[in-house]
Symmetry: D2
Subunit: 347 residues, 4 copies
């Protein structure tokens, strides 16, 4: 018998991607979908791709009572909305999986990076940081999951083996990343227009993008040393719909590094992970398209004394909805890979 | 127990797409993959997207003996090669599914449109035209399948209900179509370069594109009247990787047409088809991305007295590899939808 | 000494393109630019491409008095706004060149296609339909210019030689066209989002797109016969920023047509036109990118008895701002090609 | 009277861009164009964009005698070919402007990065490194010009003010760059295919891309200190035709840096440069499209103690053909900006 799921904010891109993934999930059935401005609309009018899976289904207005008793509720909402909804929701449903930023950071870090106090601090501990490859124990112990952001997922999976083994310095790390435009969501804004984003690369969020906090949090979690990890993160918008590539630079903390040894260590580190694939070649985002896979590789440059680590994901899957399903599988006690694929759509 | 399959020409785009689809097929296992220039290469070097599904697998040189005893062999080869290989292959394997043009047309039509005599005319009758929605009986009766081209699939599914019901004239039909660049394959040619195809629309094959013959053949099959169907087909290359849209124009053969009635008739015509979805809105290629779905709609314009029919597919799935799997399912006696999805990846 | 120009609505795409073109115009100087929501913003913040040409320039609020005495004022406004502004503006400035739809059609046609009565019918005669290749005499005789739409420009230049010579029937014409997304302007709307338009083809405006009226009007102008021209027009959005391709189908009105003769007739028809280039090959939009050129070709299909005519332009130049400058040159008595190029940016 | 120019290798992308730019140059006339495989073809068949400027012109086979007496010859050839041609050409023509890599580096650096000895070492001193913003004196003193690569141009212009003023350490510099696909040229190769490059980011040349040598050479030229500049350069292919963005990281060499001061210093440093524009906002490649402009900005991050410098150009103009024209203008004694624009095509 399938677990019964709700998707709140199902008309946005991560919401629609949840509907796509859950349509193929063997043990979860979507029984309720909500939207704000699109309430009343048919799912298939916004996403004809889903017509076959959700025939006649319409978006409902959000009402917590409608979700009562569901086994799992996914929240795919703009920043700041989950913390308003969760207090009233958390006791009515089995598990909450939040795809937004609201339950990822401790309260002080949240306030520093988001500029306002968190509205539900007492519930922060009920959510695990939902990057299973680094926080699997925490997710297994938790009722609720805060799926991490797309950039943090790509950057952290690329860098984690280095910090876990103490091979690089925790400071002076540079994460230079590129994202497809769907990372900006389905909301209307000038930079999201085709004619603005096509044929150009747009750096943004220089020095202070909020995902910096998540990258540092996740890497601190694997880093055993005294100093807090410090990262300079620079995102760029590139003219593609999906995909994140993180190109990361770090300084060695030990002598005698070489690329072959690092690659071997990465393969060992990720040997048991179903969704992390270590490549000899530089990863490309297309190879992960529509899949929950993360592709990573690593290099040591003896000339400049720098470690280079690269990671690629589909921002809407491993960077959002796929990772959310992966977290849901864990808290529901299902196989972690249920409903998820590590095979990309290429070309 | 799974049926054992081989893919010949598995390093091209339709071959790789077969590998992707068959990796998720519950009843078919790919046990042999061949390539020409790429023989010896690892599948995951060309398609890291497939690394998780085919770890360590390399492309073999083609040798018919290696395929002996397989239940089904897919041929994903350039035009003209299948007719050379099939005579030596056809008695060694259970079923052949050819994705090329070699076994789609009767010998005279082949010679007229391809400019040279067919080399294996005695085997033409052993292959059914593998468009199940129009030729399901023929496919079920055949050992082998010739999967139709991408343009004919989109155009035929858009127009078939009109001709089947005698609602439009069989002549004067215009098919104006657009294709993503993957339709040109992975071979090297100047028009396939990113910098040539990006940011532009390129009409080609004016008046005499070979797919004209397949469109006419398939529509003649559903058309009951005396006159042979005649189509003017104009393909265009558009700057996207996947997708075919066919915008078709036809002249009414009866009085009193209107859009609502036509849409109702389309829904009735395709009611039992798992992969054809009739939309009220104009279909878009993205909604079918990576799926085996065909989306169609229809309009009647009382002002100019014209019927407008539109069809969208993913050229690599319903237009090639997905349709090939659909045909293979039929000849193997499997459920027609096994391993195939009608849910697209959007956005 | 340069003519003094104003651009009203200069923060949209056609406005910005006017600024780009006029920055290189030898005889026109832009002395005033206005915007609505963007009033007060620096031109170079919205269009850093223009930083070198308009350093420190900011958008002003629209006030007719600010434009008084200018030699020419370009209106690059959303549909319906020009007819509100022009009555108060027309006596204050030398010439008005409107890039919108408000002054292109006779009052009855306007009301039929736009669904509401025109608000300044008495001024309609003061504007010439600004497609110089077909209406040069009218433009030369007029004070003001209504530059035609992008689709009508491409379709009309592709078809005009056929109708002017009476070679095709005036009815049963099909115009199947594709446009880059900039044709939708810089305004916010879901279909204009990158993630909606990328990787897909979107048909829209089926049966009743308003540009139908302009295509019929312009072709009627060259057609000498009794029957009014009738066109079925189907536009599609394709994933590129700029460019229009019109693929047009018509039925012969005479016997004995062939492609070579038609091409020769096209070359003769356009021999004196600086911006129309007749190609043997099918035209592509990229070849016209950022230029005021229109590329056309023609074919006769003896098999189906159809004439095929194709035309490509840059929708923001020959389809909007370049054509507006061309019209301004005429009414100002300047060389028609001043400030305009027929060389495209390729690749 | 115009100077007479030849373009050798005029069927490639940089060659075609030279033809586009020189078609609008007031003082240079292209009198001879050559191509290898495309000899005999009409320019307008390969580039219909150039039909209006070069009607009836065909590519000639290369023969040095045909170029004798020309004022300037541009070489737009694959790596390694210029050093074979130049010895026989250099005394027959006024000036050679080479767009390839052959005459950019001193012989030892050339051999180290290109893996084979230079074939015309005695001529290396006759060529100046053609980045006028850093080497204007050298270009003015030279007969011949070696126009630098696209990546070095973007990275060097972004970083030069920092090193010229001794504000950053010369080692530990990271250049993370992205290029449009036209940077790979018009030659056939799998990574240049649309279906390979569309919808994905591809890192390549990890650790050892040859442009590293040029970046270090150019920055050493402005750096006054003892240590040689050392750069780790990581290029990425992004799905657009034109454009280079370089995102550069450096460590401060002095205390008390802040963003406002750095921006002011950049503006002062480039105050007299017609083609370098210092922006407050992050630069985007689209704003430089089809222009010879370079857009740069700079930031200081007090949190991590890092200087961030960004530069954007059109790789085919300021990164190749425009820069070549700029260098030609200098050696011909023309105004440096003749035939060049700093206004981009946006959107």
């Amino acid at each position: 018998m399938a677990y019964r799921a709700g998707v709140v904010g199902a008309s946005g891109y991560t919401g629609a991607e949840l509907l796509r993934l859950l349509a193929g999930h063997p043990d979860v059935e979507v029984v309720h979908v909500t939207a704000a401005a699109n309430a009343g609309a048919a799912v298939e009018r916004l996403y004809p791709s889903l017509a076959a899976a959700y025939p006649g289904r319409t978006y409902e207005e959000y009402a917590p009572g409608d979700l009562a008793g569901l086994d799992v509720v996914f929240l795919a909402l703009p920043h700041g909305e989950s913390q308003r909804l969760v207090p009233d929701l958390v006791d009515r449903v089995g598990h909450v999986v939040d795809l937004g930023a609201d339950f990822r950071l401790p309260a002080p870090a949240y306030e520093r990076w988001y500029g306002s106090p968190h509205q539900a601090t007492d519930l922060l501990d009920a959510f695990a940081f939902g990057l299973p490859e680094l926080f699997r124990d925490e997710v297994n112990r938790s009722n609720h999951v805060a799926a991490p952001g797309c950039y943090p997922t790509a950057a952290t999976l690329a860098l984690a083996p280095l910090l876990a083994a103490g091979l690089v310095e925790p400071t002076g790390i540079v994460v230079n990343a590129m994202s497809g435009v769907s990372g900006r969501g389905r909301g209307l804004s000038t930079p999201s227009l085709f004619s603005e984003a096509d044929g150009t690369v747009t750096p943004y969020g220089l020095l202070n993008h909020r995902h910096t906090a998540e990258i540092e949090l996740a890497l601190d979690h694997v880093w055993a040393g005294d100093h807090a990890v410090q990262v300079l993160f620079t995102p760029h918008l590139v003219p593609m719909t999906r995909g994140i590539l993180a190109t990361c630079y770090a300084r060695p903390a030990v002598d005698g590094l070489d690329t072959a040894t690092l690659l071997a260590r990465y393969r060992e580190h990720y040997a048991a992970e179903p969704f992390v694939i270590v490549l000899d070649d530089p990863p490309t985002t297309k190879a992960t398209f529509a899949s929950n896979a993360a592709h990573v590789t690593v290099r040591f440059d003896p000339r400049t004394g720098t470690v280079l680590a690269l990671g690629a994901i589909d921002n809407l899957v491993k960077g959002a909805s796929g990772q959310a399903v992966q977290g849901a599988n864990l808290v529901l006690g299902l196989p972690e890979t249920a409903g998820l694929s590590s095979v990309g759509v290429q070309p």
